[in-house]
């Protein structure tokens, strides 16, 4: 009896300890989030204040972000990013699905070579060729335009076929063959059978390619240069923290970061289910 009690007491202590530990870790992980929200409502201006808790609160930072458009035009950046994200996500999804289907379902001479080339291309640092991309865009007279961004983001999408291909591989081939015997063309099989069966992987592809432009900084910074009107959110927010702007724009940076983080976080949380599935799918091959 007493032995049981001692065991359950030990268990109780361990549980309490585990929960305290989890609580402390949660505080550490949410600390920066908490602090940026706090800063976005801070009444006093300035980047570095010698105290942690704000002395006054205001929502002006949020209002000014949209009304004070002389230097930076946050609402416009938001729209720019949205446009780029929507179009590059449409293109990328088409590309990824097309390539993945071809590689998974059809057998042709260039199949293995293509997969090997994709593998090799993936091993070079992504932005190594950035400068060359910039000059190619310049040659096409397209720098500092949203169209260039859309093209750059979606162009390489065809190389990220691994997860979608792995998914297509799991759809039984017998279904395809039955349809082909019934006289359906490959195109029909692809659009009428494979696509409707692939909802999870389509959602995963759409969300990942939609999120990319919101978080990319490198390519925009090279392509857009100093054309503030064409900036996307990530580049714009980064700009606000530069020496000449940080004093005025610091609190608004916080507000802008909060605004952009909310929809992105929601999408990410929707996607995480697919993220875990996709990642484990990639491990399985």
């Amino acid at each position: 009896m007493s032995r049981y009690r001692r065991m359950s007491f030990n268990k109780f202590v361990r549980n309490v300890f585990a929960h305290i530990l989890l609580f402390v870790l949660s505080v550490i992980w949410l600390f920066p989030v908490f602090w940026i929200v706090l800063t976005s409502f801070r009444g006093e201006k300035g980047s570095f204040v010698p105290y942690f808790w704000p002395k006054s609160f205001t929502i002006n930072n949020y209002v000014q972000l949209f009304t004070d458009t002389q230097q930076f035009y946050y609402a416009k950046w938001f729209m720019n990013t949205l446009i780029v994200a929507v179009f590059s996500c449409l293109l990328s999804t088409l590309y990824v699905l097309g390539i993945s289907y071809a590689l998974s379902r059809m057998r042709f001479k260039m199949r293995k070579p293509f997969m090997n080339v994709a593998l090799i291309l993936g091993m070079f640092p992504g932005f190594m060729s950035m400068i060359a991309v910039y000059y190619i865009l310049k040659g096409l007279n397209m720098t500092q335009s949203l169209l260039a961004l859309i093209l750059v983001y979606s162009a390489g999408a065809g190389l990220n076929f691994y997860i979608a291909k792995g998914f297509f591989d799991t759809i039984p081939k017998a279904i395809d063959e039955a349809a082909v015997i019934d006289g359906a063309s490959r195109w029909k099989v692809f659009t009428k059978i494979t696509i409707p069966l692939s909802r999870p992987i389509i959602i995963y592809t759409v969300l990942t390619s939609f999120l990319a432009p919101w978080t990319d900084y490198i390519f925009v910074s090279v392509i857009m240069g100093d054309n503030y009107d064409k900036y996307t959110i990530a580049l714009g927010l980064y700009k606000m923290l530069e020496k000449e702007f940080i004093t005025t724009w610091y609190n608004r940076f916080a507000a802008g970061a909060v605004i952009v983080s909310i929809p992105i976080s929601i999408l990410f949380i929707i996607m995480q289910r697919y993220y875990a599935e996709g990642a484990s799918g990639a491990i399985k091959g």
Partner: protein, 459 residues
Amino acid sequence: MAKIKEKNERYSIISAFLRGDFLTKLSFLIMGASNLFRGQIIKGLLFLFTELAYIYYLTSAGISALRGLRTLGTKEQSMVFDESQGIFVVQKGDNSMLMLLAGVVAIAVTMLFLVIWKANINAAYEAKNLKQQGKKLPTFAMDVASYFDKKLYRTLMSFPLIGILLFNILPLMFMILIGFTNFDHEHQPPGKLFTWVGLDNFKALLLTGEKIGKTFWGVLGWTLIWAVLATFLNYIGGILLALLINREGTKLKGFWRTIFVTSIAIPQFVSLLVIRIMLNDNGAMNSLLQDLGIISRDKFLPFLSDPTWARFTVVIVNLWIGIPYTMLIVTGILQNIPKELYESAKVDGANAFVTFIKITMPYVLFVTSPYLITQFIGNINNFNVIYFLTAGGPLSLDYYQAGKTDLLVTWLYRLTTGSVKDYSYASAIGIMVFILSATFSLISYRFTASYKREEDFQQ
């Protein structure tokens, strides 16, 4: 058997030439001839136009572009005295960079043309064979229809391939070639020419004791230390966190998981920039520590401004970024470990620590070893964490254009976008990173083997 033989023949240019009739042989010179004279008018014309377009390209730009590739320009921009105006004016010289780019484009166009030329031979030979066998040749409409059926892969892959060619392969070829030139800050077009230097850049990086060589080995060393630390600490931390959340007695499992997922749901550039500001010498973290009386008012902790501190800080902050990711993935794996293993261990009297070492870890390690290696490669190329936190700094005087927390990739970035542009070295560094990644990838593919045996996994 016969079918296989026939297929092989179709793809051999030599046999097409030997066995083809006059029209097939003519197609080697005049593309589409065989199709045109056998009634496949549109197909034949398309081939013919391709050839004419290519010839036009060659004569107008292609040949000079290919020739320029050899020298990368001979006439340097100079100042010439203009008598009529009485001043010195700039006389335009060759632009080595544009010449290199045009040359790469010319090579790509030529390769594309060769692919179409080969398709033309195939089509010519096929048309001849069908005619000989007395079969009807497919009409243009039928050809188009086949691109949505048997040749659907061509339709599906054509647009993505154009994108990959234009924005991945071409730029990469260009950049790789630059690694073998002296396109550094002293040879910037249009003012100066640059030219081929062979392996000099690699020698400077790897073999000489110059400043740039010292920087390379220093940065490479830190890159590897960083990749090992970041990968393994995140991995172990993620597993421990997953175990903590998934242990039997923990209440509200979903709630805790959501908290940690929230922290990674925020765009990385936002969270990293925020952390950078918090960890500034007079940022929120130091203010907080002063408020709490842990450090005195006039002191601060140099989280990001002291080289050693900065290195520790980036590793720790990377834990903040990476642990939730690993937690997400490991959670799924933990739920798949067979319960019987734990029960039999319990019967044998093993305690929690022993079960963890003997059962949980081996199982998780087995399933996630490929993930571990991809993570390692990912960390070698981990641009975001370093760039947004320290931008590679604090800068070091012993280093050439690099700071103490710079990875190879952030150093590369600085060399291409910073004030001193050394594209040649940047390209050489990129190639070295490729060699690193390729080596580790090869190891990882030996682990998975699924890449080689992919057919086994298909149903």
